[in-house]
């Protein structure tokens, strides 16, 4: 049996790698990938608690998280394509249209 704090640490490391990627990278795709990694890390934590506490609810919330992640990827990439058409750039610095 894997101790729950090891699973939690594992989830934490993945989350922080995703956070780092989302905050520091300039390429908008890698920012989106960082967000996906963070959502996955949350799923790992849920599954770890589900397995150690013996509660199946911890395996159901990740399904909802995955749904949200899929919707986020779909709409996010549609926005990226729309902005790319207007600005011809995938650099996150140029996504400042709402700034005044």
């Amino acid at each position: 049996m894997i101790p729950v704090n090891v699973i939690f640490l594992y989830s934490l490391i993945i989350f922080c790698i995703g956070l780092w990627g989302a905050l520091s990278r300039r390429n908008v795709f890698i920012v989106l990938m960082g967000i996906e990694l963070m959502l996955n890390a949350v799923n790992i934590a849920f599954v770890g608690f589900a397995s150690s506490l013996g509660n199946i609810a911890g395996q159901i919330i990740p399904i909802f998280v995955i749904t949200v992640a899929a919707g986020e990827a779909a709409v996010g990439l549609a926005i990226v394509v729309a902005i790319f058409r207007n600005r011809l750039s995938i650099n996150i610095d140029s996504f400042n249209i709402l700034k005044w």
């Binding site: 894997i2 990278r25 599954v47 150690s52």
Partner: protein, 172 residues
Amino acid sequence: MSYTEIFFYIFAVLSILFALLTVTRRNAVHAAICLLLTFFFIACNYVLLEAEFLAAVQVLVYAGGVVGLMLYVIMLVRKDEADEVRQSLGQRVIAVFIAILFVLEIAFISLLAYYGNYSGFLSSKMAQIGGNTESIGAVLYTYFLLPFEVVSVLLLAALVGAVVLAKNRIER
């Protein structure tokens, strides 16, 4: 140490390695492939944590859908000069600082949980219903009824939003 634990640690190290590669690659296509492998190794760990249905969903939706869509869009907006610009924002130091702060915070909570009176193993209650998918089905459509129906509205909103964003531009 049991075989389950050994394989858990192997897959954990591999997924962390590929997650690191994902956020450090210059080429977005390479990053997407590393992300695919990260998701695959996380799915392996789901199997070891007795969440077989989630492992299948992980491979199906993330590896099959999300990474596929990302790779497609990367090829759609491919720009050759994109490889040449500086890769990171000016906030790399702040990003590392925030990430490390997060590690410390949650590691502290994790330590508290470790020294607290935590005990628990996988209960056999789930096994009585049947397999993993059966027990998920039994709980998902009874206790999680409202979130389940709300999900359909979420998917509808995502669908309408994506179609509006993707279609209007073509008509223009």
